[in-house]
Amino acid sequence: MGQTLVEKIVSRQAGRPVSSGDTIDRLPITKLFFNDVIGPPAIKGLANLFGETFKRHGKPVQVFDRRRIFFIPDHSVPALSVEVAEGVDLMEAFGREQGVKVYREGDGIEHVVLIEGGHIVPWDIVLGTDSHTCTNGAMGALAFGVGTTEGVYALATGHLYDFVVPETIRFELTGTFGKGVYSKDLILHVIGKMGAGGCSRRVAEFVGDGVRRMSMDARTTICNMAVEMSGRTGIMPCDETLGAYLKGRAQWPVEPIESDPDARYADRMTVDLSSLEPMISFPHKPANATPVSRVEEMIARSQAQPTPDFPAVTSDRITDAFLGACTNARYEDLVEAAKVMRGHKVHPDVSFVVIPASRKVYERAMDEGILQVFIKAGANVESSNCGPCFGSHMGVLSRNAQMISSSNRNYQGRMGSREARIFLASPATVTASAIEGRLADPRKYL
């Protein structure tokens, strides 16, 4: 019987063939990273939980392998408070002491900078203390978000415990996107079909011609949102595009990987990319997805049968727009959004925040005149961080706000007031909406 990507990677790490359902007592991992929210408590946790054990062996507290661990201050930087600043200090001190890489504030978002830096390669088992660690699945890696304690365990021993090999759902993508339709629209469509819990306990494997034709920037957007249908993670094979991306970049040996033709899947879904149109997810969950042509119907539906996670939306008016986050603020996202923005102004009633996902993206977009397009149009371009996505920094929403965002979560209260309404869409749709001051179709600008 053939194996899925997940089964292959776990088999190699576990040192024996495994299939879905098997439990691995101790699974060695290969990469581990922390952000500024969980990094500081994890560093303290390492000493608290394991300090005694190290001491008994006459050793200082030490991490399992300094080359495989990264700290990335991204959520609330440049530090928004004394607590955050001190947390960043702690990560820096720990990095010096242990010889572990700590990024600088403004270097970018965790799920972007490690990939850019060539630190993630196919066959990796990646743990990050953030649910969007699944983004790294686009690299042919098995990537899981974990909490603080599992992060601390891994810091000490380099293992994940009692790991149950998950089943996989296979998403076969065919065809090519029409004008103004992107990988964000595809993943919003899929989440809408699957529901918030539709991929629960299973891995979403994305394959097919549709994937093969996609750039790495486009692929990461898809894997990023696998968790929004409760996927254990998202994953893609390693093909020529990924191989080319890693050339001269990879810090570790690169070996291709793909699932076997006779691998067993829990379920399958095929999506023809050419059948999609721009999508918008309504508040308060990503699964409330609708094609842009049906926004009015969706508003009417929200008023007819409001529920706690699908509240009544009273208008299509937009007060805030955000182009950023680990989902959609990579180079190509900015290029596409700038195509829409060029020759237009941000609507006078809209606050438009643009945050490139990393310093590298920022610099390239600046050098190529892309940032200038947004700045001249009246947007606020900020240094790289999570921005309003995290709800505490650079554009927190008031109770009256209706935000359209290129990020991945529109939960109630996620970006500020619990009364605020958040819509999710592609960078192009966000920008078109920022121009019009209402939910808009980007295709007429392209």
Binding site: F50, F64, G145, Y153, Y161, D162, G197, S230
Partner: protein, 171 residues
């Protein structure tokens, strides 16, 4: 044996942002700090209800505590004296965080027999919920490994033993 009162009944897809909003996460690394802000944007009355009972049980629909991996969601519940969550399903990250911290999670396909204020006894060994208020009982499945981890209050002891092995090998 776990005993307590059902003090909250929630629907499907409650997320960890609902349990503890992001903005509080960066204010403290003391696990107890978050308890005050439990469900503050989603169900502001949650904490008041929890304070009235010595042991709280949450009953929820599908996919309870989806979304962000923040383990603070687990502390938020534990420091509000939540002793068990019974839901139709749980996503993996939250489930694993609860294993690590020893907060027992019971998966029950049909939760309709459980209501607010019911007094429950939960026997993890027998896989049985006894509803003292209604004189009914419900059976549930739990993997043996998970049951042991919940009962041991988490995985730390095992990981310590593993670290011992590693350090001994290193000499």
């Amino acid at each position: 044996m776990l005993t307590g009162a059902v003090t909250s009944v929630f629907g499907n897809d409650i997320n960890t942002d609902d349990i503890i909003p992001a903005m509080y996460l960066i204010k403290s690394d003391d696990p107890e700090y978050f308890a005050t802000y439990a469900f503050v944007k989603f169900d502001p009355d949650f904490r008041t209800r929890c304070l009235k009972s010595q042991a709280n049980i949450i009953v929820a629909g599908k996919n309870f505590a989806c979304g962000s991996s923040r383990e603070q969601a687990v502390y938020t519940l534990q420091f509000n004296r939540v002793v068990c969550v019974i839901a139709q399903s749980f996503p993996d990250i939250f489930y694993r965080n609860c294993l690590a911290n020893g907060l027992p999670l019971v998966t029950l396909e049909d939760t309709s027999g459980l209501a607010l204020d019911d007094q429950l006894e939960i026997d993890l060994d027998a896989g049985l919920i006894r509803n003292r208020t209604r004189n009914t009982s419900h059976q549930f499945q739990m993997k043996t490994d998970d049951r042991r981890t919940f009962q041991a209050g988490g995985m730390t002891a095992r990981v310590r033993a593993h670290l011992e092995e590693i350090l001994t090998r290193q000499g």
